[in-house]
């Protein structure tokens, strides 16, 4: 790595000094050919090599998406996208950014590969809440990936299936991620990384992405650990699961509907419409709902996350997962099949099969109010119960799984609580870049949380010392013998929980 230059499969690359000069940063490294023109809605293709030294000093464009950061007063603008309107946006977006503390290229450091969130239709890897330099300082090579979003990344359409027989359908965005992972495996040694020690992570749709890679038969053996932040989602009743892949028919239907409503006659025509225009048309038609997301296409994904888990199609890698208390209400809404009146209870109880009576003995609600109160329980809280049931199932499979619940006090005049994404400032040690009035105690907590993350990335186990060499409070793997969850509040404290009967019932019923 002399003169900050590395040689990779496609040519020579020169990085720049990070803001912390101990870290070398390689920005905008192409990992696939630009997915434009005929390559739109196809699996990512190999990068064309270049001559001479390519300067890796600028981030690549963000994937085409509804413009983030337009309204300066918007919560997410202030939180994640303060200057996003000036960043380039383009269909030509398959670039990744590498942050390495290595100097010789011989270091064999653990590798951390991150997929941002944003509902599979927004986000970019250089959002303000990620401090990859701080993570790299903890002794790892960090890779943050841009992947295709929205209908550019997840359009399924019968014409596509016909055009590319035997190829995955509609999963272009997650195929991009897989392509990036394989690129990392082939090239990361040059940056001082160990290609056989890759941990993947993501939050929200990033966590959905991680679960796609965990459950895809095409992604076997390309990583060694996974962090699923907000989080696991387990369908039950008629859960409208925002992160898990949707059935192929539904995806194809969405594609056909889009073409119809947008007046698009053919794939050829669709490929000619500029990506931004197409995206805004799709936004107008489908509104804020996520319609383009991973698909159970039978090739990249053969089943939903939960089915894969149920069937044991889940790799034997350590998992860390959890949720934020303040986001739970938001995700509770995705549970749509629950009874709304006490009179519906007998019919609903049928879903429990043989355990029907057990369920009715637990739920003795006579009035709608009592039912409402009953459904406030943890067992009905989608994000929370999913983490717990996921923990139960994985532990039963003999997998190592670490659960957390994040509920730090988040300052700011908007009193946001531990909102969806709040943990990112802590996990990725980036508090200094937030507009929020964080104080010393938050820095102390961030040091602990980011150290747990770093330890997990290094060893598959979050335990060990913090970045100062001070021992961290113990965090036990979750198991039926010892149901322990790490609570991040004022500090980090492990607590024992019980498997509530209602939760156990849902688990059994969902199996």
């Amino acid at each position: 790595m002399r003169n900050r230059t590395v040689t990779i499969e496609s040519g020579e690359l020169q990085g720049i000094f990070g803001w912390d000069p101990r870290i070398l940063v390689f920005k905008g490294v192409p990992y696939a050919a630009p997915p434009v023109g005929d390559l739109r809605w196809r699996e990512p293709q190999p990068v064309k090599s270049w001559e001479g030294v390519r300067k890796a000093d600028q981030y690549g464009p963000m994937a085409v998406q509804p413009q983030p950061g337009e309204n300066p007063e918007d919560f997410w603008t202030r939180e994640l996208h303060p200057t996003a309107t000036e960043f380039e946006m383009s269909e030509d977006c398959l670039y990744l950014n590498i942050f390495t503390p290595a100097r010789t290229g011989e270091e064999k450091l653990p590798v951390f590969c991150y997929f941002h969130g944003g509902g599979y239709k927004g986000g970019y890897p250089y959002e303000v809440e990620f401090d990859w330099e701080h993570m790299a300082r903890k002794g790892m090579v960090c890779v943050a990936v841009t992947y295709r979003l929205g209908l550019m990344g997840f359009l399924a359409h019968p014409d596509l299936a016909a055009e590319q027989p035997g190829s995955p359908v509609g999963n272009y965005g997650v195929l991009d991620q897989l392509c990036a992972l394989k690129w990392v495996k082939r090239n990361i040694a040059a940056f001082g990384g160990n290609p056989d020690q890759i941990t993947i992570a993501g939050q929200s749709a990033g966590s959905g992405s991680v679960q796609c890679q965990l459950t895809s038969p095409m992604a076997k053996g390309v990583f060694e650990g996974a962090i699923i932040e907000s989080g696991m989602t387990i369908p039950f009743c008629d859960v409208e699961d925002p992160l898990s892949p949707i059935p192929l028919e539904k995806a194809l239907h969405n594609g056909v509907e889009l073409f119809k409503k947008a007046g698009i006659e053919s794939l050829e025509e669709a490929r000619k419409i500029p990506a931004k225009e197409l995206t805004s048309v799709s936004e107008k038609i489908f509104g804020r709902f996520i319609r383009f997301q991973p698909v159970v296409d039978g090739i990249f994904l053969k089943e939903t996350f939960f089915e894969a888990m149920k069937h044991g199609n889940w790799p034997d890698v350590p998992i860390m997962t959890g949720y934020n208390v303040g986001e739970l209400e938001m995700f509770r809404h995705y549970v749509t099949g629950l009874p709304t009146a006490a009179s519906e209870l007998p019919e609903f109880a049928e879903k429990y099969g043989a355990d029907k009576e057990k369920f009715l003995s637990l739920c003795t609600a006579k009035t709608d109010e009592e039912l409402h109160e009953f459904l406030q329980g943890d067992a009905w809280n989608n994000m929370k119960v999913s983490a717990r049931i996921g923990g139960e199932i994985l532990a039963e499979m003999g997998r190592k799984v670490y659960l957390y619940q994040f509920d730090a006090d988040i300052p700011g005049e908007d009193h946001p609580g531990s909102f969806h994404g709040a943990e990112l400032w802590f996990a990725y040690d980036s508090l200094a870049r937030s507009w929020r009035p964080f104080t010393g105690k938050h820095y102390d907590l961030a040091r602990q949380i980011s150290s747990y993350w770093a330890n997990f990335i290094r060893t598959g186990d979050p335990n060990g010392n913090d970045s100062f060499g001070e021992p961290l409070p113990a965090w036990s793997a979750y198991s039926a013998d010892s149901r322990r969850i790490m609570y991040f509040e004022e500090g980090s404290v492990e607590k024992e929980v019980v498997l509530e009967p209602a939760m156990e019932l849902r688990w059994k019923a969902s199996m």
Binding site: D20, P21, T83, E86, V128, D429, A432, P437, G440, D444
Partner: protein
């Protein structure tokens, strides 16, 4: 955000900061590379360029006798963890600018920082100089580079002779700093800055530089405030103990000529033709091994840029009437930079300086043993840092000028260095995250406050106001003769009032008599 800026030399493009609300321009040339014939000449205007210059890379570090980061020293770990990878060359006159501006109409105050290193070492992108946090507080940060040591401060009879009438014959490093300040005054508006509100700041030799710039007649009207960290080298006019005391041009020329002959250089032409690295090797060969900066070249009274010692400027009040902030780190006042201390014999020798008032001095000093003398060297009356800083505050406030005094004495984790020389920088730049030290929440809390005092001062000439989170800061009162206020940075900002120090007053009186005999 203002990512692309038109300067007088051409268009520059900055990097999106680590915090994207800040734009960072690395390596903007503010003068022509002082190489070849321009070695040991005044800085010349930078040449223009066509198109957009991408300012993504730092300029080279100035030539130093020892390449920083290549030895295993305390400061390597502290400030130069990867400096061994940086280029070092004479072509070093570049600025780094951190700007939070959104438009050229923002008119933000400007903070120009001059790094330390004994005028022999250092560079403007050391790991503690992350200007983003200062910039986030609504200030444009400009980090200045300048020629050091032999290249920045050689004086020589031949140079004096060749210099055209009316130009400055030495102090090239100081002229560089001044050229940078003038460049900023001419260009900073395009970066969203206010050329009328340029505050200069420096630490160690940077603080010495700030004083030289402040007192130089060649910077008239461009400095709106000044901060001297560790410290003001005041000198009361009695003991030659100050840091960076300017020597006469004649002495400096002699020093230069002696250097040439000691390393076998015949004349200026040979010296100019010599490879910079070779010059440094020769300098190294004659440098005393036990001296931190080796054979050091410093500021001289050239008669044009530097017209008198700073102490003389101070007593005669020949510096602009701008608010100042000065202070020290507690551990440095007792450490290696503080000098060798005093013995009873030293005190008796010093007493002679005061002539008729010798007995009065001895009575006030009240030194019976070497321990008494050593205690004196540690205290406000005679300590090189504490005494000079406080003496300066006494003098300035006595003239009705605004001056704020601080003592930084926070607990510094990681080793037993305490509040060492430079430890304040991590706090004033709020750049703790770049340090190897195990800084915790309480340090972040203090850094948030210290950095806000600094930026408040840059904005208004008064450090008071709110911290970054919008919480009111403990009040930091001006130093006054009648109320000797100091802000102590302990676990938290702690205002205190210092006790009277009659011996300090005595020294000050002596200086006044010496420099202002008409009073």
């Amino acid at each position: 955000m203002l990512r692309k800026v038109q300067t007088e030399n051409g268009m520059v493009q900055g990097l999106v900061g680590k915090d994207p609300r800040v734009t960072v321009f690395r390596g903007i040339p503010y003068a022509k590379p002082p190489v070849g014939e321009l070695r040991w000449k005044a800085p010349q205007p930078a040449e223009g360029w066509e198109g957009v210059r991408k300012c993504y890379e730092y300029g080279d570090m100035p030539m130093m006798r020892v390449h920083p980061g290549t030895d295993e020293s305390f400061y390597k770990k502290e400030l130069h963890p990867v400096a061994a990878e940086y280029g070092m060359s004479e072509d070093c006159l570049y600025l780094n600018i951190f700007s939070p501006a959104e438009t050229t109409r923002d008119k933000l105050p400007v903070f120009c920082y001059i790094h330390g290193g004994g005028l022999q070492d250092g560079y403007n992108y050391e790991v503690e100089f992350d200007g983003e946090r200062v910039a986030r507080r609504g200030v444009i940060v400009v980090m200045i580079s300048y020629r050091l040591g032999l290249f920045g401060f050689l004086a020589h009879p031949e140079i004096t002779k060749e210099t055209p009438e009316g130009e400055v014959v030495s102090n090239f490093g100081m002229q560089d700093q001044s050229a940078a300040l003038h460049w900023v005054a001419r260009n900073i508006e395009s970066f969203g800055g206010d050329p009328e509100r340029i505050v200069i700041c420096g630490q160690s030799a940077g603080a010495g530089s700030v004083q030289t710039q402040l007192c130089s007649p060649m910077n008239e009207g461009i400095i709106a405030g000044a901060i001297c960290q560790s410290a003001v080298s005041f000198g009361f006019g009695d003991v030659e103990s100050g840091i960076g005391r300017a020597i006469s041009l004649k002495d400096a020329e002699q020093f230069g000529a002696d250097f040439f002959s000691s390393v076998g250089i015949r004349d200026l032409k040979e010296a100019r033709d010599m490879d910079a690295g070779e010059l440094m090797r020769r300098l190294d060969s004659v440098s005393p091994k036990d001296a931190m900066f080796g054979l050091a070249f410093g500021t001289c009274i050239d008669g044009k840029f530097v017209t008198e010692t700073t102490v003389s400027s101070y007593y005669n009040d020949r510096l602009p009437d701008v608010p100042m902030m000065v202070g020290v780190c507690m551990a440095e006042t007792q450490g290696m930079f503080a000098g060798a201390g005093l013995t009873k014999k030293d005190i008796e020798e010093i007493a002679e300086v005061y002539g008729e008032r010798k007995e009065e001095f001895l009575k006030l000093a009240d030194v019976k043993t070497d321990e008494d003398a050593a205690a004196l060297a540690r205290g406000d009356a005679f300590n090189r840092f504490l005494g000079d800083s406080r003496g300066f505050c006494e003098l300035r406030s006595g003239m009705g000028k605004k001056v704020y005094y601080y003592i930084f004495d926070h607990d510094i984790p990681g080793d037993d260095a305490g509040s060492f020389h430079g430890s304040d920088l991590w706090f004033m730049f709020d750049s703790l995250g770049n340090s190897w030290r195990p800084f915790e929440g309480k340090h972040y809390d203090l850094a948030r406050q210290v950095c806000s005092y600094w930026t408040n001062f840059v904005k208004t000439g008064n450090p008071n106001g709110c911290d970054y989170n919008g919480n009111p800061l403990p009040e930091w009162k001006e130093y006054r003769n009648k109320e000797k206020n100091v802000m102590k940075f302990l676990d938290r900002p702690t205002p205190e009032v210092l006790e009277e120090c009659p011996l300090l007053d005595f020294r000050l009186e002596f200086g006044k008599e010496k420099y202002l005999p008409d009073l």
